[in-house]
């Protein structure tokens, strides 16, 4: 039967397409059903285009400082539309790359919106596809607004990242609601393109899930650059005007009215669990709306599995990708390495970058762990001085008794790249000693990792 596959995957985002490739590698006939472009939010309206825009922003700020480095570039002019077009080309290349990978691995791609049916079947339009082994639900998530306070996404004055990524020009002013990774990155981008940016966060500090020291470092850096940061703020009301929005924001015990051209909603995401036939197949969801899964990522309906954002936090592409690999190996009867959800790196690509893994210092305190914090600032790192990237630090939280790396936090240039040394260390249960024993090339930013490890042992060298 032509419409029969071993594995059918609903959704071609990072979790889905990686699952498809691994499934095909394991010799299972595989189909991916995708209603939009392959690559999902990440490739098309998420991780990938924002990284392209962030690099444009980085070039702009680099050129503004170029004189100090002996390079005269004249007056720096920016054009968000051009940067946006470039980011689109990057996204398209990546989406085409995923298409190529599907072909290369002989994965059938079905275009359309799939709806699950009992008996491991998926209906797309009038066609029905049947999975012999498993159906994987990888439908991902989307941005959500706050309609209850008048901040429904209207795609003109109140937008989400979906619209921000397609703007032809940078607005004159912008209030970004939510200072998590998305809010932080767009603040960085639009500020560099000349927008007057205001960053509003409900929790007491920006990047609330990161280590407090990372939040402090970024708040300082943003303020210095002229990005207004308002933490512990409550947006009480949003009133649309002609080409503008007026926000009532309560912070520090006072309510202020803020008038901006655009409001960017960067708080929270909703999972795509509606209209895909979950209830009909017996797939249950949790109180928070995620699909309920067991240790092998199987849902409450046998033969139906969930991976990626729909399967629960952290809602990160790389977590979904790993689930995609693991779930297909389980379906193929293998016994894969258990996913360590406590060892998923978290990265915000603003400048300076913020990357972390494991516990924050606050979490160590909450858990009453006996820990030592080792810290090394990039201002004491030779390579960072050379490139002028002296903001930030590496901080390692070490278990006092056994030297376990409880958590690591990096703020600084290339933090997103440097963190992986510690991800490998933690995955393999290396202690700070093993990290420090590895010879680090000099001069590199990564030396700060070794120095922070040494500092946690009380024998830092370079400071």
């Amino acid at each position: 039967m032509a419409n029969q596959f071993d594995v059918i995957i609903l959704g071609g985002g990072p979790a889905g397409y990686v699952a498809a490739i691994r499934s095909a590698q394991l010799g299972m006939s595989t189909a991916v059903i995708e209603k939009e472009k392959l690559g999902g939010v990440c490739v098309n309206i998420g991780c990938i285009p924002t990284k392209a825009l962030l690099h444009s922003a980085y070039i702009a700020s680099l050129l503004r400082e170029a004189k100090e480095f002996g390079v005269e570039a004249g007056a720096v002019k920016t054009d968000y539309g051009v940067a946006m077009q470039r980011s689109r080309r990057v996204s398209d290349q990546n989406s085409k790359g995923v298409e190529f990978l599907m072909k290369k691995n002989k994965v059938t791609v079905v275009k359309g919106a799939g709806v699950l049916q009992p008996g491991r079947k998926v209906k797309v339009g009038s066609d029905t596809y049947e999975a012999k082994k498993a159906v994987l639900i990888a439908t991902g998530s989307r941005v959500k607004g706050l309609p209850q306070i008048g901040l429904e996404i209207n795609k003109t004055t109140v937008i989400s990242s979906d619209e921000a990524l397609f703007l032809e020009k940078a607005p004159a002013s912008m209030a970004i609601i939510g200072a998590g990774a998305v809010g932080m990155e767009f603040a960085d981008i639009f500020h560099a393109f000349g927008t007057k940016v205001m960053l509003i966060e409900a929790l007491p500090r920006i990047l609330p899930l990161e280590d407090p020291e990372a939040s402090d470092a970024l708040a300082k850096s943003y303020k210095k650059r002229g990005i207004e940061v308002i933490p512990a703020a409550k947006v009480k009301k949003g009133t649309p005007g002609k080409d503008k929005m007026t926000l009532e924001v309560e912070a520090n015990g006072a309510t202020q009215k803020i008038e901006v051209a655009t409001v960017l909603m960067a708080a929270g995401r909703a999972v795509n669990t509606e209209n895909i036939g979950l209830a009909e197949c017996g797939v249950q969801v949790t109180d928070r709306g995620f699909i309920k899964v067991d240790q092998s990522l199987q849902t409450t309906a046998p033969g139906y599995y969930a991976i990626g954002d729909v399967a629960g936090p952290p809602m990160l592409a790389h977590k979904g990708m790993r689930e995609g690999v693991t779930v297909t190996e389980i379906i193929a009867g293998k016994k894969p390495h258990a996913i360590r959800y406590d060892n998923v790196p978290s990265v915000t690509y603003c400048h300076p970058e913020v990357a972390s893994i494991g516990l924050t210092e606050d979490q160590c305190k909450e858990r009453k762990l006996d820990y030592v914090a080792g810290k090394f600032p990039f201002s004491a790192n030779g390579r960072a001085r050379g490139t002028g990237e002296t903001e930030g630090f590496v901080k390692i939280l070490r278990d006092k008794k056994y030297g376990e790396i409880l958590g690591a936090h990096i703020v600084g240039g290339h933090a997103s790249e440097i963190i992986h040394e510690l991800a490998v260390a933690r995955e393999n249960e290396y202690t700070v000693e093993e990290v420090e024993l590895a010879i680090h090339a000099h001069p590199t930013m990564s030396e700060a990792v070794a120095q922070a490890a040494l500092d946690s042992l009380g024998r830092v060298v370079d400071m």
Binding site: A338, Y402, G403, E429, T431
Partner: protein
């Protein structure tokens, strides 16, 4: 498909195992990791665990029966699965499950049989095991390639066999364990004055067997030669410093060093108490003093905490009162370890008799100038021989040797006592 249950090598030297008790009967459902039977190895009684889920069938080794490692003792069949006729009553030896073979992940069911030859463990797991006194060989690894991870060590009761856990973690050992290891290898102050560790079966047997072969206390002896150059220099310097305020003798230095070394080797600072061993957290040194009609051992209490001059004064005073028969009973009882010194009689080397319930005594010979090779040069050095008598019911050869090595290091580098 049915999975064979083999007699596994549960200790590195095990060649055969005796089934002590089946925990599961024919037809019982079993889960991976569940205890199927208790097996007596050459060292202890260990659990034989299920390596698959299913129903236990075809038990071929009866309770009390001894079978070779690698023999099939039962099978685990899928529920309802028909299994072939029971193998012949003498089970054919089959290879034990190959450790490290096949693709293995860390999924909860992917347990790996303990590998007796080489232990794969993460650096963190190694460190935790070392400090906690856990034998990694006995822990089932679930990491990549059967590596023991921190989680494996933490899942006590599940993956960690009781034998692998430090004894102190159990309220009372229900089964035999290799050694009644004290909770701490070193003396821990601030808590109870001592810790009673019940005698385990194997210890009881050793105690009985050795006692009948060697007399009431099964002695064994360890001799070590110590370079006393630096101790002599230190003594000369100290005595110059003290001037008229007394003298430090070699005996004082030896008592001090012994007390210090014992704080690091609590296993030797112990009493044999018939059904338990008392490991002391206080160090009281009995000092053998020859008196007119025999011998008495006055006690220098907490010798490890006293200064050399303090020990010297007390030793002199106690010895004098011993000779005058003026000692109170509490002054010659309660030692945790003893020192007997016949060096002043030019005895080169001798063995001392243990003073029960103490588990050890050292016999100190005279300091003699001897030709020795130091850094390739033949030279004359002041040397001294110490022979330790150990109660084998408490102290094993390696335990006593480790203590003597520390004692030697202390005497050869007297400054270490200041650490």
């Amino acid at each position: 498909m049915a999975t064979n249950v083999y007699m596994e090598a549960l200790s590195p030297t095990m060649e055969e195992g005796r089934v002590v008790k089946w925990h599961k009967r024919d037809g019982d459902p079993v889960k991976t990791g569940e205890t199927l039977a208790e097996v007596e190895t050459d060292k202890a009684v260990m659990d034989l665990v299920a390596r698959a889920d299913g129903v236990l069938r075809q038990i071929t080794a009866a309770e009390g029966q001894t079978v070779a490692v690698g023999s099939v003792v039962a099978v685990i069949a899928a529920p309802g699965e028909a299994v072939g006729a029971a193998p012949a009553s003498a089970p054919k030896p089959a290879p034990a499950p190959a450790p490290g073979g096949g693709e293995r992940g860390a999924a909860p069911s992917a347990a790996t049989p303990a590998d007796a030859t080489r232990v794969k463990a993460s650096p963190l797991a190694r460190r935790i095991a070392k400090e906690a006194g856990v034998d990694l060989k006995l822990v089932t690894g679930t990491g990549p390639g059967g590596r023991v991870t921190k989680r494996d060590l933490e899942s006590a009761g599940g993956g960690v066999p009781a034998e692998a856990r430090p004894v102190a973690a159990q309220p009372a050992p229900q089964r035999e364990v290799p050694l009644p290891a004290p909770r701490s290898p070193v003396v821990t102050r601030g808590g109870a004055a001592y810790e009673d560790v019940p005698l385990t079966q194997i210890r009881k047997t050793i105690a009985k067997r050795l006692a009948t072969s060697l007399g009431p206390i099964p002695h064994f002896f360890l001799t070590i030669e110590v370079d006393m150059e630096r101790a002599s220099e230190a003594r000369d310097a100290l005595n110059k410093q003290l001037g008229d305020q007394g003298k430090v003798s070699f005996n004082d230095i030896i008592i001090k060093a012994t007390a210090h070394a014992l704080t690091q080797h609590r296993a030797c600072n112990a009493w044999f108490q018939e059904d338990h061993i008392r490991y002391w957290n206080e160090v009281h040194i009995g000092m053998a003093v020859a008196v007119e009609d025999g011998l008495i051992t006055p006690v220098i209490r907490n010798a490890d905490l006293k200064s050399l001059a303090g020990i010297g004064g007390e030793a002199k005073e106690l010895a004098e009162r011993a000779r005058n028969r003026r000692l109170q009973p509490n002054e010659y009882t309660g030692a945790t370890f003893s020192v007997s010194n016949l060096g002043m009689f030019d005895i080169d080397q001798f063995t001392a008799v243990i003073n029960p319930p103490e588990a050890g005594i050292i016999a100190v010979g005279s300091i003699v100038e001897k030709p020795v090779v130091v850094e390739g040069q033949l030279t004359a050095r002041r040397r001294m021989r110490i022979t330790m008598s150990c109660d084998h019911r408490v102290i094993d050869g390696a335990t006593g040797a480790a203590f003597l090595r520390t004692l030697k290091q202390m005497l050869e580098n007297p400054l270490a006592m200041l650490l």
